[in-house]
C-alpha cells in the first residue's frame, strides 16, 4: 500500500505576530494542516540562513518564515532585515538550481488567524504538488 505523502513544513514564526496569529487560528478552531511544524523565534530576522539549510538537511519539504507586517516589527526594523536576507537566500537557491519554491516568507499579524490558516493550506497544497523534497535523496545525502 502506498503511503500518502504528508509534507513537513518547518515554520519559523515570529513570537510577536505570526506565532500569536497561529495561536489565534487554533483558538478560533480554524482548520490548517498538520504539515506545519511551528518553531517560535523572537523575530523573523533571527532566522539565520543556516537554519533553512539545516531544515532541508533534516528532511523538511518546505520552509515558511512568518513575521510582522512591514512597519509593525516589535523591534521596529527586524522584518526589513529579514526581507533583504530572504531575497538573497532565494536568489542563491535559484542560481544554484535548488527549488526556491520551497522557501516562503509571509507577513501575518497577531490578529490574522484566518490568514495564517489560509497560508498554511495554500503552501501545503503547493508542496503536495511539488512532491517530496528531492534534495533529501539526491542533493543532500
Amino acid at each position: 500500500m502506498k503511503k500518502e505523502f504528508t509534507p513537513r513544513i518547518t515554520s519559523f514564526l515570529c513570537k510577536w505576530c505570526t506565532y500569536t496569529g497561529a495561536d489565534l487560528a487554533g483558538t478560533a478552531r480554524l482548520q490548517y494542516p498538520t504539515s506545519i511544524i511551528p518553531i517560535q523565534v523572537m523575530c523573523s530576522s533571527r532566522v539565520d540562513p543556516v537554519f533553512l539549510i539545516k531544515a532541508f538537511l533534516s528532511g523538511s519539504d518546505g520552509v515558511l518564515i512568518g513575521g510582522c507586517h512591514p512597519g509593525d516589527c516589535h523591534y521596529e526594523t527586524g522584518n526589513y532585515h529579514a526581507r533583504r536576507r530572504f531575497a538573497i537566500v532565494k536568489s542563491v537557491f535559484e542560481s544554484l538550481g535548488l527549488e526556491s519554491q520551497r522557501l516562503k516568507l509571509s507577513w501575518i499579524s497577531a490578529s490574522e488567524g484566518p490568514k495564517f490558516a489560509r497560508v498554511a493550506n495554500e503552501y501545503t497544497e503547493e508542496i503536495m504538488e511539488l512532491g517530496e523534497n528531492p534534495t533529501r535523496k539526491n542533493i543532500f545525502l
Binding site: P49, H81, I139
Partner: protein, 321 residues
C-alpha cells in the same frame, strides 16, 4: 617603474613624518609569480616594496585577521581598487578606525592567476616573468613564450570596473578611471540561461572538487568571525567532511555571509588549490544586491553595508499571502 619609485618615496615620507608606524605592501617573492606581503617599519626597508602584475594579495585581510598586531597603530596600506573597497567595508563595519589608516592607492592593471599561467606553460616552472603591457613573456627552463595579458589575468580582474581606489589618502601614479567592462556579466548571463537541472549539474561538478581546506575563507577580507560557523561544534551546523553535502553547505552559507560584502577581489579563487570557480556565485549575489538594493560593496564610505541597511518600499515580490 615610476609607480614603484613613487610608492617607495611616499612610504619613506610617511614614515619619516611619523604619519604611520607601519606600512603594509608587497615585496618580490621567492618565486617569480607571487609577490609576498611585507610589513615595513623603517625607511630603509621601503626599497623592498614592489608593485606589479604579481601583487595579487588583498592586503586588507591583515586588518581583520591580525588585529593584535595593528592595535593602536597608524597603518599605511597599498591598495588596488578592490583592496580599497575591502578597507572601506571594514571601516563601515567598525573593524578599523578611518583615522588610523593611510590608504595609498596604486593604479592596478590586473593581477595574474597562477593557475592560468601554469595551464599556459603546461605545468612547467616559470623562472622569469616580464610584463610588457598587452603581452606578458614567460621564461623557464628551456622555453620562452609570450601570452596575451587577458589570458592569464585573474577572472576577477577581467570583470573589474573599479581598478582604482575610490577612497584613498594619497594616489600614486595615474588613476585609470572607471572601466566600462561590457563582458562583465557575460559569464553570469550564460549561467543564468541554463535550465535548473543544468545549473545544478554544473554547480555540483564545480563544488565536488572542494577539499575543505578553507583557503578561500582564510584569504577573504570579509570573513573575520572569531569562530567561523564551520568550526563551531555546539551547535554543529554542518558536518566536517569533504562529502559533497557538507562542502556545498559550507559554500552556500559562506556566500550568504559575504552577500553584499564581497568586493569581488578574487582572492578566494586565486587561493583555491582545486580551481573551483568560486567567484561566479559571489558575483551573481553581488549583481542581485545591486539590482535589488542598488548597493555596491565598499564604494561609499558614508553609506551602510547592504545587509544591515533597508528601505521601507523595497520590492517584495516573493512575499506569500
Amino acid at each position: 617603474m615610476n609607480v614603484v619609485n613613487d610608492l617607495r618615496k611616499t612610504i619613506k615620507k610617511l614614515l619619516a613624518e611619523k604619519k604611520i608606524d607601519l606600512f603594509v605592501g608587497w615585496e618580490k617573492g621567492s618565486l617569480p609569480m607571487a609577490a609576498t606581503p611585507i610589513f615595513i617599519t623603517n625607511e630603509d626597508e621601503a626599497d623592498r616594496i614592489v608593485f606589479d602584475i604579481t601583487c595579487g594579495n588583498n592586503l586588507s585581510v591583515y586588518f581583520t585577521k591580525d588585529k593584535k598586531q595593528f592595535a593602536d597603530k597608524k597603518v599605511g596600506i597599498a591598495v588596488k581598487g578592490c583592496d580599497a573597497r575591502s578597507v572601506v567595508l571594514n571601516i563601515l563595519e567598525k573593524q578599523i578606525d578611518r583615522a588610523n589608516v593611510v590608504m595609498v592607492g596604486v593604479p592596478c592593471h590586473g593581477v595574474l592567476d597562477k593557475k592560468k599561467v601554469l595551464a599556459k606553460t603546461d605545468g612547467r616552472e616559470v623562472l622569469e616573468l616580464i610584463d610588457g603591457g598587452d603581452t606578458v613573456t614567460l621564461k623557464g627552463n628551456g622555453y620562452e613564450l609570450s601570452s596575451d595579458r587577458s589570458e592569464i589575468l585573474s577572472s576577477s580582474c577581467l570583470s573589474c570596473i573599479y581598478p582604482d581606489a575610490q577612497e584613498y589618502d594619497i594616489f600614486v601614479g595615474e588613476p585609470r578611471g572607471e572601466v566600462p567592462n561590457e563582458n562583465r556579466l557575460k559569464e553570469i548571463k550564460e549561467f543564468e540561461a541554463m535550465s535548473t537541472s543544468e545549473k545544478w549539474a554544473s554547480t555540483r561538478a564545480e563544488y565536488e572538487k572542494c577539499i575543505r581546506c578553507y583557503a578561500c575563507r582564510n584569504v577573504c577580507p570579509s570573513c573575520y568571525c572569531n569562530v567561523c560557523f564551520v568550526d563551531q561544534n555546539d551547535p554543529a551546523w554542518i558536518g566536517n567532511t569533504c562529502d559533497f553535502t557538507d562542502s556545498m553547505v559550507f559554500h552556500i552559507i559562506r556566500n550568504l555571509h559575504v552577500a553584499g560584502r564581497c568586493v569581488e577581489c578574487g582572492a578566494c579563487e586565486r587561493a583555491c588549490p582545486m580551481d573551483i570557480n568560486l567567484l561566479l556565485l559571489n558575483r551573481k549575489v553581488a549583481m542581485e544586491v545591486k539590482d535589488r538594493f542598488g548597493d555596491v560593496a565598499g564604494l561609499d564610505i558614508n553609506g551602510k553595508p547592504a545587509m544591515v541597511d533597508f528601505r521601507e518600499d523595497e520590492k517584495q515580490d516573493f512575499i506569500m499571502g
